[in-house]
């Protein structure tokens, strides 16, 4: 392998297949995010400080990313996304605001064995977000 063929160690996007893109867009706007321009009924993206978090029709994404395989059933997808708040004291209020915006409570914030504090919510499609405070950004999550 030549250096030119190394993949950039830089995340461009996380795209999650969903049943209802419009519902996703509405939830994330209610939670406080601004969508990227250019969305559609099939696609919504949010600029997450560089990388995009995008939602795409599950069947359409499956046709591209898993041709010939079963589309995953509803339920937890085995992945979590995380935002990091700057102060330990903010975890609980940001977590509560997500629930107030319509998220499902998965786990109330607790102090974690790795030294931080975090809680989990699920969006309308069950996608998990960890709202975390991490003592050393970039350290073990």
């Amino acid at each position: 392998m030549t250096t030119a063929n190394l993949p950039p160690q830089h995340l461009f996007a996380v795209t999650v297949g969903v049943n209802d893109v419009a519902r996703q867009r509405a939830f994330y706007e209610a939670w406080g995010w601004k969508p990227s321009p250019g969305g559609s009924e099939q696609y919504a993206a949010f600029d997450m400080g560089g990388p995009l978090v995008a939602f795409f029709s599950r069947h359409s994404l499956g046709e591209e990313a898993a041709p010939g395989e079963a589309v995953p059933a509803d339920g937890w997808n085995g992945t979590t996304l995380a935002v990091n708040v700057p102060e330990r004291e903010s975890v609980d209020s940001v977590w509560q605001a997500a629930v107030d915006a319509g998220a499902r409570s998965i786990a109330s914030p607790v102090d974690r064995p790795w030294g931080g504090r975090s809680g989990y919510i699920a969006d309308p499609e069950g996608i998990r977000w960890e709202i975390a405070w991490v003592p050393t950004p970039g350290g073990a999550l």
Copy 2:
């Protein structure tokens, strides 16, 4: 909701539950990435230019993120991750290098209706990566 309780529109981490963390670490190192310090048998993280892409024991992640729910079965998890290469001509060689490093070919690179070019590979756990060239970075994927 007060502004202080808005979630940061900034992705801190994507964590994917896997069966074999050591195999993940080995594959991504073979593909050309450098792991973050501090990993373990249960956890490996890669700094993706800001956000982390992390692999965590699937059962351990499930205990945190989906308590009481079934752990997802093997197979496509309904999510794709993407890296963006700077030139259209690089998509094919970067894609091929991934396959040479042990990735499974999912879809050879093709020109996409949205104007870019991309192909898909799967890592040893079936996690999908889109290797893309995007005409307008930050535009629709």
